[in-house]
Amino acid sequence: MSALLAVVVDGVIYASWLFMIAVGLTLIYGVMKILNIAHGSLYALGAYGAASLAGYWLSQGYAPFGSYAALLAAAALVGLIIGPLIERGLLRFMYGRDEIILLLVTYAVFLILEDAIKLIWGVDPYIISEPYGLLGIVEFANLVYPTYSFMLIVVSLAVGVLLAWVLHRTRHGKLLAAVIHDREVSQAMGVNVRRYYLATFTAGAILAALGGALTAPTVSVVPGMGVEVIVLAFAVVVIGGLGSLPGAALGALIVGLLRAAAVHYAPALELFSIYLVMALVLAFRPQGLFAGEQVRTI
């Protein structure tokens, strides 16, 4: 019984992390039809930025709880600086070109940013574990978890709710839905599509960086940490449906629980199972579990 509970709790914790890293990707695809491979390096930049900022904060002897603000601030900074840089500086010249070309452009940006990280921060790992341990631990039913992990669940839920609210309840959100639906018509009706693209990409970048920033205290921050994250994010987003917000949540939950189950019962299947589900979804319901566009051919 406690093993099953452990699987569920582990699964939900992992799922909330997956949601954090996948939601920005699905948002950008949904609005701009771009599969942003640079998402992985934005994640990494968020982690490095957080490690630096929080590290600086703590080394100056300021209030330890302020380090959380530092994490969030780092994510915001990375997103607000790098996001527009990529979108205004590069992507906007490529709109209208083939999806695959845009994919390759983001792949190129990913390569560039990976090395940019190495050049700025070097190759040695950064460890910033204080925010992780600061909140203590939680004990129940024979299981022990760091409270930080539960905070992560809360944050990802908050992010999901906030995004849902923005998209469905605010004027801007509804206009965004119009842009997603038909870009040309929206433009003809006076919607400044360019601004929405910029806003969306930046939001996606902030979300990616946030995922990295919140992860930083739990791992050693090393070059290449974005590489594995991209494929995981792809898997989550494909399973849930490209461009779907609830899809990202459902996909994250499925992958999270699956991985937790694998880790506990069949460790050899851990990696394989995630991509198997991704392939199965693509095979039987390519638009994902939350229906979107037509995908298969004649």
Partner: protein
């Protein structure tokens, strides 16, 4: 009707390579490696001309290498031709099966599915202790009819084999594009519906091309494994497939020789960049890719073509 100069050019290239390999021994390893990867990229070229970007050729590249590797390491087979044939067959069989599914997809979904499939193989290999997990394992030195292809003194025989293989594959692909099925590639890319309305099955054609690309990647992977002497699951990781895509874009799809030239330049740059600036060679790569996409969408080969015109 223009005279088809390509076969004679390819044969002339073969002779030139064999001579170069003889007088420049330090370049043999790089050359062989470039041909192994070039074969995989040649398969990508076929798919690109058909309008498909596979982000998962690493699957067949790795499968071919491991097929040759297991035969070599655990059964003691070292005959290079046999290993290459087995690698090609294994990869071809896998592509034939997986192609049944993949041939129905296009665009981003084709790319994503091919990526997912290669990551499945990666996941399987990483956890398989019998095959060395993340470390992979070494391949014994290849032989041909009992004679060593690689020894302390010389990599030349293996280099010769690689060159012959590369040129043969390029020639075969060149003739393939002149067959009715080969000509369907750009047609499918441009207008699938018209192809169906002319009486051909697009899905069947794509399936065949996917298998051909798989076989090429499998043989390329085995060749690479034999040259390097070592294989590991990284060959199936998405970044490996990404590199192949990058080289394909770099080379352009204009000529069957382009993948090999592109691979060679890529390996050359990578080797030097690594030595002098290991932390910025990806930056150089990414920048090069961006420049090519923006200014030279037909790849490097278009530079050669423009000069000829």
């Amino acid at each position: 009707m223009k005279k088809d100069r390509t076969p004679s050019l390819l044969l002339a290239t073969l002779v030139a390579l064999l001579i170069l390999g003889l007088v420049l021994p330090e370049w043999r390893f790089l050359g062989t490696l470039a041909i192994g990867k070039g074969l995989t990229v040649l398969g990508l070229l076929l798919l690109l001309r058909t309008g498909l970007v596979s982000f998962g050729q690493g699957l067949y590249y790795c499968l071919g290498a491991y097929a040759a590797g297991t035969l070599g390491q655990f059964w003691g087979t070292t005959d290079a031709l046999l290993l290459l044939v087995v690698a090609g067959l294994a990869a071809g069989l896998a592509a034939a099966i997986l192609g049944i599914l993949l041939a129905a997809y296009r665009g981003i979904f084709f790319s994503m599915l091919s990526l997912a499939l290669s990551m499945i193989l990666y996941g399987l290999l990483v956890k398989s202790a019998a095959l060395g997990s993340t470390d992979g394992f070494n391949l014994p030195a290849p032989t041909l009819f009992g004679l060593p292809l690689v020894s302390h003194d010389s990599r030349y025989p293996l280099f010769v084999l690689a060159c012959v293989l590369g040129v043969a594959a390029a020639l075969a692909m060149h003739y393939y594009f002149r067959t009715p099925l080969g000509r369907l590639s750009p047609a499918i890319r441009d207008n699938e519906i018209r192809v169906e309305y002319l009486g051909a099955s697009v899905r069947a054609a794509v399936h065949v091309k996917y298998v051909i690309a798989g076989i090429l990647a499998g043989v390329g992977g085995a060749l690479t494994g034999m040259t390097v002497g070592h294989i590991d699951p990284e060959m199936a990781y998405w970044t490996t497939s990404g590199e192949f895509v990058f080289v394909a874009i770099l080379s352009g799809t204009g000529s069957v020789a382009a993948p090999f030239l592109g691979s060679f330049i890529f390996e050359l740059v990578r080797t030097f960049a690594y030595e002098y600036s290991p932390n910025s060679w990806q930056l150089a790569l990414g920048t090069a890719m961006l420049l090519i996409i923006v200014f030279l969408p037909a790849g490097l080969w278009s530079l050669v073509q423009r000069r000829r015109a």
